[in-house]
Symmetry: C2
Subunit: 298 residues, 2 copies
């Protein structure tokens, strides 16, 4: 039995997701041209596609079909994309760059960037409502998933986390606050991504609990590795114009120090692996994802 | 048979809608406090509640039950509320005031206002997904309505209209462009409000066509009366700080002149009445709404 090639898996799934996102955005071509371009710029080329891949990986553990998982995977990525556009605006993080490219508002202006974010968020729910989904999944399940996603993305989840983050600026914050911010701002959507996939796959309650814990630990570990990588790149490129406000923010790293941060990542990822230990080979992608997060900072 | 008292009807429905909105916002109290307050400020005291009343009125023509209509009526109002918060931001209209009170960002800051808008939009879809809806309406109908609402609110509707509006600033625009902006920016959501109500009520295809035309004409007439009222109030309070960018915008009024604008309103409203002529006394609220729009500028 050949070992599982996680890099190949991620590459393949990323291609599948990008194709699906292009397909969903295609119908936005009839929107005002500048809006369409700003929406597209917010979604492509995109990053790791971490959330939608998690939806596919968690769903496929339980036999979920890719075509049933994709609309939700894409909706979650659209929500992620909108949040990044709004987060970069001067009113929030005031970042000129995103993934090495100019931020949306630096290309299209603040007004269009704001509206492109609004349109992407609305589009996410449009994708979920798409008639074709109805034939793939039970409508009641679709509505339950919509319930879960709106909870994760809204004031009790991601948006709430951005508020706590914004209010923590220029304040002394402790570890509990940092983990609270992480848990909401990035954790809630990562949690929803995995849980939605597992529910579509038909996971049973005990399995849902495992997936829930797996993705909670994974989300936190992912965020701490982000902080570690950010700190390292800030050291390498001191004086750059981007991440203006980010640099002032307290992170797990800035409070606990690099050693403890790495220990925390390692501990969290071990707990992830433990949660999916009893699942079969179908969970190899979930294990592989854990290893890729670990390798980011090793 | 006593004549229909539209003022009493509107007052009553407004109270019902406000109660329902308060109920939906109650669960947002567990969000970060400042976010909750900004969301609440964006929804209350609110304005005429034109859109949700239209949902109730159109639904009740066909026997739709108020408790089935309310979640959608409220979702549409939440979407309207978010759009006003974002619209007032400096990146868009840069208005310091809304309905005579300080704009959301003047009270809570731009960052919180932006996020409160995001949270309200997300909340709208959360309301639609609420489990209780499932027992009132068929899940497939809920998803169809979600489809219609996301289409009306997104890049092909309201948000798209805001983009066209933004791009038209400081440009010569013609009547077709103004009606295009109106049709998308305010018309799409008004159209959806009436159609969603009628669909929940069980309107048949021919009836849906009438409701569609009724609400299209009504939405345009409503917007033109808004422009007329704005122009009159600007004359009365020249030099005020609000509506900074609005004043530079081309409107139906500024292009066609006040006489033609009033004629257009009157013509549109007559067509509204014609569309609902064959409906019974149950359509009195829809007729009453037409008369209130007419009386705004008479």
């Amino acid at each position: 039995m050949s070992p599982f090639d996680v890099e190949e898996y991620l590459k393949q799934k990323r291609a599948v997701i990008n194709l699906a996102l292009e397909r969903y955005l295609k119908h936005c071509r009839r929107y005002p041209e500048k809006l369409y371009r700003a929406m597209h710029y917010g979604v492509f080329p995109g990053g790791k596609r971490f959330r939608p891949i998690l939806t596919l990986a968690a769903g496929e553990v339980f036999g979920g079909k890719q075509k049933c998982l994709l609309p939700f995977a894409c909706a979650l990525e659209l929500i992620h994309a909108y949040s990044l556009i709004h987060d970069d605006l001067p009113a929030l993080d005031d970042d000129d760059y995103r993934r090495g490219e100019l931020a949306n508002h630096k290309v299209f202006g603040e007004g269009i960037a704001l509206l492109a974010g609004d349109a992407l968020l609305t589009e996410a729910f449009h994708v979920i409502s798409e008639a074709r989904v109805l034939r793939l999944l039970k409508p009641t399940l679709v509505l339950e998933l919509l319930h879960e996603i709106t909870q994760a993305a809204g004031g009790g989840g991601m948006v709430g986390g951005q508020v706590v983050d914004l209010e923590a600026e220029d304040h002394e914050v402790d570890m509990a606050t940092v983990e609270n911010i992480h848990g909401r701002k990035t954790g809630a959507l990562i949690l929803a991504a995995a849980r939605v996939g597992a529910r579509i796959g038909g996971a049973r309650p005990k399995e849902m609990q495992r997936i829930t814990r797996y993705s909670r630990f994974l989300g936190l570990a992912f965020q701490i590795t982000d902080d570690i990588l950010d700190a390292e790149s800030a050291t390498c490129t001191a004086g750059r114009a981007s991440k203006k406000k980010e640099e002032k923010k307290a992170t797990y790293l800035s409070i606990a120090g690099p050693g403890a941060a790495r220990d925390r990542v390692s501990n969290l990822l071990q707990r992830c692996l433990k949660e999916v230990e009893l699942f079969g080979r179908e969970a190899d992608p979930l294990r592989g994802i854990v290893h890729t997060v670990a390798s980011r900072v090793s």
